[in-house]
């Protein structure tokens, strides 16, 4: 029994996931004590629905981070996806086609990221900073520098409702579809990361690129795939925001790449690569959303909100760093 626990604790990234879970519970309870509506069923349903988008971008960003890279274009791809999807729909394109086209364009950005970082070995921070600007530019241009009209106005109320329910307003087993979509993707990608060759290669590349290459890992292809996964997740979030608003907003997804980093890192994904679990990202996303939700529910000033969020991001990782270096409780290994 004790061995079993030890075994589990030794899984790379598991400790981070557990830390995040503890933090999550604490935050949830604290807010609940301030405003007991936090514990209400409706609020919990909302929480799961809202965290879904952070979970998705967290998954994408985690894949990229585990290879030791970063994707700053996530937020822009979310916005681009929402705008492309909505623009097409308001031009009367059938839903499925609109979704596919949007996915395609999103994946192109992911592909370019992969080429730049994987093949041309550009620093990922810069490469994806570039595509971040480009994707946002496309979001602006696609409907001529304007937000789109309501999608139902062209698609018709039924079609519009269908789409909106599918991605945001509908429920399955009493829980919003948004959550189920994210959860399904979470399961699939957890499986890929934990149980497949690609997943193992992702850890290997994040740990040592050169050694992986000499072991026959096609590191360029692995890096490309992580950026495609990240773009895929971002596109789905774009659908969700589009369904939520019933229209495309050019600024949608702003800063989401950072929330993705936060979700991953709070959940124990190492931004230096080689380590992390999507289970942690799940906790991280939920923690982040609980924080946002709670601060909103208690009506905290935005200034206070920022400070609390900043402090929590730092603390989450600091704890982890201190525990790892063993100087949380002792004074050893200074410098």
């Amino acid at each position: 029994m004790k061995n079993k626990v030890k075994e589990i604790l030794r899984i790379r990234g598991m400790r981070g996931a557990i830390t995040a879970f503890v933090g999550l519970v604490i935050i949830y309870v604290v807010f609940g004590c301030i405003n007991d509506k936090v514990f209400s069923l409706q609020n919990n349903l909302n929480l799961l629905r809202s965290m879904a988008k952070y979970l998705l971008i967290g998954i994408g960003q985690s894949f990229v981070m585990i290879t030791g890279n970063i994707d700053l274009s996530i937020g822009s791809v979310v916005g681009m996806s929402a705008m492309v999807t909505a623009s097409l729909m308001t031009r009367g394109v059938p839903i499925m086609v609109a979704l596919l086209v949007s996915l395609l364009i999103g994946l192109i950005i992911g592909y370019v990221n992969g080429e730049l970082v994987g093949k041309f070995q550009m620093p990922p921070f810069i490469a994806t900073l570039g595509t971040m600007f480009v994707a946002r530019g496309i979001a602006y241009l696609v409907n001529g520098n304007r937000n789109t009209d309501n999608i139902a106005s062209i698609l018709g109320k039924d079609q519009g409702k269908l789409f909106q329910d599918a991605f945001y307003y509908g429920k399955i087993l009493g829980i919003y579809t948004t959550f189920w979509i994210a959860f399904l993707i979470f399961l699939i990608f957890s499986f890929i990361l934990g149980k497949t060759k690609l997943g193992r290669h992702i850890y290997a590349v994040g740990s040592n690129k050169e050694a992986s290459r000499l072991s026959g890992v096609d590191i360029v292809s692995v890096i490309k795939k992580t950026y495609l996964i990240s773009a895929f997740c971002s596109v789905i979030v774009g659908y969700i925001l589009c369904a939520q608003a019933g229209m495309g907003n050019m600024e949608a997804g702003n800063m989401y790449e950072m929330y993705g980093v936060a979700a991953g890192v709070i959940g124990g994904v190492s931004p230096l690569g080689g380590s992390g679990l999507l289970l942690g990202t799940f906790q991280g996303a939920l923690l982040w959303q609980t924080l946002e939700n709670g601060l909103n529910m208690v009506g905290a000033q935005v200034g206070i909100q920022r400070i609390v969020i900043g402090v929590i991001v730092v603390l989450a990782v600091l704890m982890d760093v201190l525990v790892r270096n063993g100087n949380l409780f002792s004074k050893k290994n200074k410098q």
Partner: protein, 317 residues
Amino acid sequence: KQDAKDTTAAVTEGTTAAGEEKATEEKAENSGETTVKADKPYKLALITMDSLDQHWVTLNEGAQAEAKLVGVEVKFMSPDTKDDSKQIECVNNAVAGGVDGIMIAANGPDAISASLKEAQAQGIKIVYVDSPANVDAEASFATNNKQGGKTAGEEMKKALEAQGITKGNIGVISTNASTQSTVDRDNGFREAFEGSDFTIEETQYCDGDAAKAQTIAENYITKGVVGIFGGNEGSTVGIGNAIKASGDNKIVGVGFDKSDNIKSLIQDGYLLCTMAQNPDVMGKMGVDALVESLNGKDLKGETVDTGVSVLNKDNLK
């Protein structure tokens, strides 16, 4: 309090009928009395587009002051940035938080509608302040932003013509491309120049940052524009400062919203005028309407155009 006097003075200059109505409301506030009393200590939520713009902060202050008098609680539950998705979640949170009524300034009138309908389905009363959405509500106290933009354009045109200028380029600076109210102002402004020989430049965005707006305005001035329009507070301050720095007082600057900075730029003659709204009044009227409707009164979805008033050097004195 000086603020309030300014607006009263300005309102007499105002063109809309709503102006009059507002003036009377305001007197009530000034005397620290209110005509409305809450039957129960209702819990209300105020959700503006964001929680940072001075405009929203003032609106919130108006609402909070009134809430105290009326005996209700107003929770300011706005998103930190202008973001449809975040605003929708704020509405969801308010619903989950068990409020009785929501006052909202819709960032995207379409975007927010579905979640407002959900709120109404739970028996929550909705009142619009500043910017309505596309769902029927108890009442609406909003600015017709397009009309406001048009008024701004007309003022600029008048001033240019007075200088004998009938053609040339005009710059436009706004906060961002995706907030409906500022987009409406932009469109209204352009409408005022339809059919004239003026060319309106591509709108440039400053994200509410006055310094960035100033840099953009400086570029417009270098290019040789005859006038610049600012769609919100930050842009307007930036334009005024740029005109001041250029030393070319012939360039006509017209803006939107009012603040200390804008007022002094107008008084010093760097800006021609600004389109002032009265957010504190909106806040107060919003609270009153929500309380009345919760008390059981049917407001029949009355929409009050709170209007904009033109603040210029003359009526600022």
